[in-house]
């Protein structure tokens, strides 16, 4: 492809990097990434991917923008209260960069619709706020052999792991099944320092860009743990579990599971 004058300016700081160059930028423009959730994590992920010129961004979210979201969900703003989050994110990302086409999926992911929604994307980014969705996304990505950048946040902490099915562990290799409902903090307990979602989401975006460019070492087989109060990063090596019910040698889960929704931190 030939870059336009505007693109040469816009992406000049990428093109200058030996590891990116014009070729890498073309790869970014051709990439298709889908975000599960346009909340605290999805907002910064989409923001940086749009800035980077990732050509197609899917946004899966069926919530509307609420005032309590705006402490951390930077894709939205006060003028968008009551607007579908997927539409709000689309507006934000496409305004930042007209090279980006945002496709909205205003649905809650279930075993019935997930395959169809994610199948045409190259990379899946999980920024969901609940265990049923996290397991559903993991299982679907393992089945479709799609790279998944998974993350979670809680209070002052966050974690990120990149899952490349067939080349390392999946989420179930670490945590075989969702915790029982009683073990999950109630909505009132589940506060989150807004900026924590920004740090963790930005790390997810970094992983996505690395995967697209094929550079560096993604967090494959490695769980990154970050604590804001200590400002400490730790990376824990995680092996694939041969007994994993999903990606082990003899998988016992062969179809998608809809776990019961017991709490959502989205409010």
């Amino acid at each position: 492809m030939e870059f336009t004058e505007e693109q040469i300016m816009r992406y000049s700081r990428h093109i200058l990097l030996p590891e990116v160059g014009g070729e890498g930028q073309e790869r970014l423009l051709g990439a298709k990434v889908v975000l599960v959730g346009a909340g605290g994590l999805g907002s910064p992920v989409g923001y940086y991917l749009a800035a980077a010129g990732v050509g197609t961004i899917g946004v899966i979210d069926n919530d509307r923008v609420e005032l309590s979201n705006l402490q951390r969900q930077i894709a939205h703003n006060t003028n968008r209260l009551g607007v579908d989050k997927a539409d709000s994110a689309k507006e934000t990302y496409e305004t930042l960069n007209p090279d980006v086409k945002v496709t909205t999926h205003k649905e809650r992911l279930t075993s019935a619709n997930i395959m169809n929604i994610i199948k045409d994307y190259d990379i899946v980014v999980d920024g969901s706020d609940n265990f049923p969705t996290r397991y559903l996304v993991n299982d679907a990505c393992v089945m479709l052999k799609k790279p998944l950048v998974s993350a979670a946040v809680f209070r002052f902490e966050g974690q990120v792991m990149t899952i490349q099915p067939g080349e390392g562990p999946c989420y179930r290799c670490l945590f075989e099944v969702p915790p029982p409902p009683g073990m999950v903090p109630s909505c009132q307990e589940a506060g989150i320092l807004g900026v924590v979602t920004g740090v963790i989401g930005t790390i997810q975006a970094t992983e996505v860009v690395k995967l697209i460019l094929g550079i560096g070492r993604p967090l494959k087989g490695a769980l990154l743990l970050w604590n804001a109060l200590d400002m400490s990063f730790r990376t824990v090596r995680v092996p694939r579990n041969p007994d994993c019910p999903m990606c082990g040698d003899r998988p016992t889960i062969t179809s998608l599971v809809d776990y019961e929704q017991f709490c959502s931190m989205s409010h």
Binding site: I8, M9, L16, E19, G21, G22
Partner: protein, 86 residues
């Protein structure tokens, strides 16, 4: 003039300043084949040092830098290396 260099491609980026001088030179050389020569025409003084240095950093060979006017330079670069892969 027996050492005349025959470029395979010429870009005239007079009027361009850093870092776009190198950005445009790099985009041009990326599309060329190993062994081919790019001639860059420019009029931005700092780029006369910066573009050759950046090209060398990326593994290309600077063959000649020629001043042809008060504010006009021609830089000849041979492509020796494809994009860095990890």
């Amino acid at each position: 003039m027996g050492d005349e260099i025959k470029p395979d491609k010429v870009i005239d980026i007079r009027g361009q300043v850093c870092p776009y001088t190198f950005v445009r030179s790099k985009l041009a050389i990326e599309k060329m084949n190993i062994g081919e020569v790019l001639e860059i025409v420019l009029d931005h003084r700092p780029a006369v040092d910066n573009v050759p240095r950046s090209m060398e950093n990326e593994g290309q060979k600077v063959l000649k830098i020629e001043q042809t006017g008060d504010k006009e330079w021609h830089i000849f670069v041979r492509k020796d290396k494809e994009k860095k892969k990890q």
